[in-house]
Amino acid sequence: MFVETPFVRKKHRRELLAKCVFGLMAGAMVVPLIMIVSYLVYQGAPLISWEFLTTNPVGGMRRGGIWSALLGTIWLVGVSLLIAAPIGVLAAVYLNEYAKDNWFNRVINLAVINLAGVPSIVHALFGLGAFVLFAGIGRSVLAASLTLAIMTLPVIIASTREALASVPRSFREACWNVGATRWQTIRSIVLPNSISGILTGVILQVSRAAGETAPIMFTGAVFFRNIEAGNLFAYSLKEQCMALSMHLYTVTTQVTGAPKPLPYAIAVVLLATVLLVNATAIVLRVYLRSRKKW
């Protein structure tokens, strides 16, 4: 029969305590998020409207909307992703599936890990030197996107490798045993079972790219540009553009007499864009997880 000894009681008390501590910490995480979002929405709400999103700033950025900045951010993030995602994913496949454990590949690994830890302002200076000046691209959407791509690349590589490594080695060996090449194995077994993790890693980098100000400040973002409202292709790769993060910085610190809700409204739009992308990532992950096969 079960006897409640002092040891058993102690064990249960500790279990309860541990659960409470962990739960409390997890709950505490939600508080700042709710506070940030509600404060921003409360402060910025009066300005937010469809018109705010789709018109250019006017009157020294004190009036009007944020269209040119919003579109600029979309362009920068989109182009940088188009560059970084394929390179990052393919490089990660090489590192995880083909590379042998030798000094050369260890150096590459080390480089990737260290690059992921480089501050964004350093990437900005690199982008200015390499793309804007040395390569002669000039300050433009392209140069800024390349800089953002360099910044997100190492993290994409790391997260993709993580996703690939989560596919059990026994699956690969089973394929090799029947004479499949590495590529046949990757294509039919490894990629289909890691694609959800890969996409999640890539999409999470979107929010990072969208939020950064430093890397684009020297390489392609400007204070103000007037573009055709409502035209999604109002920017071209060789031109400079506005960006939400930069715009937020500008109206907060450089523009005197801007209406008080304006920075908050910009912040809400930036946050909403990022959350929208993250939500897509979550939906995609849930969908692909449901198809995961072991």
């Binding site: 089973a174 045993n177 029947v178 004479g179 090449t181 289909p192």
Partner: protein
């Protein structure tokens, strides 16, 4: 019996992982169309030996191999590795159902070597699943996932997959570990049939299984051959080595 054809020739094979040598120079032949039993306790390098034959040993970066392994008279090192592995069906001791449908599990290897016609694949899949004694259990759900099968069914799926590329050599490494005795018997009957078309290497911890099925059996002990002989000798009261008698009859120690 006339002169048997040598299918696999292993001569003076030494294998080490890093500084630790696990196979200490062994030499033996396996003949065409025989069932060759390999028995021996854990750590006697039975699995490593199989991996030397189909060159999957190369996936262990610290493995070093000396001596030669010949299949069909030519050194495996000089053969095309994919062709070689297609020639050899390998069943690992832990069942692996690939995370694709049961049908695709079996059709995987043929597709990799360029067989794409649905009619060819259908026949092949059915034949292999029948040979692995799995067909009756899965014929109505070929499109469900290989990973959703039970352990024993996955083991038979692994056997079906090993047969799917029509190998000339079939390596079974503890194939019956997760399979009930009756199903094991059914597969053993299939193996006796398959011997007509292929050479079978049967690594097993069940000495009785080797006794039932094999023509000849090799007793490995710590990476060395204690004895290779026809079963008549191996499992008689007077094998050439006393150790063999003791191991087979469970009076070791």
């Amino acid at each position: 019996m006339q002169h048997p054809v040598k299918k696999i020739e292993v001569s003076n094979l030494r294998l080490s992982y890093g500084a630790k040598e696990v196979i200490h120079g062994i030499t033996f032949d396996i003949y065409e169309n025989e069932i060759f039993g390999v028995i021996g306790p854990a750590q006697s390098a039975k699995t490593s030996l199989l991996r030397c034959i189909n060159r999957t040993i190369e996936f262990s970066p610290d493995a070093k191999l000396k001596g030669t392994v010949k299949v069909d008279g030519s050194d495996v090192k000089t053969q095309n590795v994919y062709e070689l592995r297609r020639k050899i069906g390998m069943v690992a001791p832990l069942p692996v159902g690939l995370p694709i449908t049961i049908y695709d599990n079996v059709a995987f290897a043929p597709r990799c070597s360029g067989v794409t016609a649905k009619s060819d694949l259908d026949g092949l899949v059915e034949q292999c699943l029948r040979q692995a004694a799995l067909w009756d259990e899965v014929k109505d759900r070929l499109d469900s996932l290989g990973t959703k099968l039970s352990g024993g069914q996955q083991q038979r799926l692994t056997i079906a997959r090993a047969l799917s590329h029509r190998p000339e050599i079939l390596c079974l490494d503890e194939f019956s570990i997760a399979i009930d005795p009756i199903t094991t018997m059914r597969i053993e009957d299939v193996l006796k049939e398959l011997r007509k078309e292929m050479t079978i290497i049967l690594v097993t911890n069940l000495t009785q299984q080797a006794r039932r099925l094999a023509n000849r059996t090799m007793f490995l002990w710590n990476g060395e051959i204690v004895e290779v002989d026809s079963n008549d000798v191996m499992f008689s009261d007077n094998p050439r080595n006393r150790k063999t008698y003791e191991y087979v009859n469970g009076i070791f120690g």
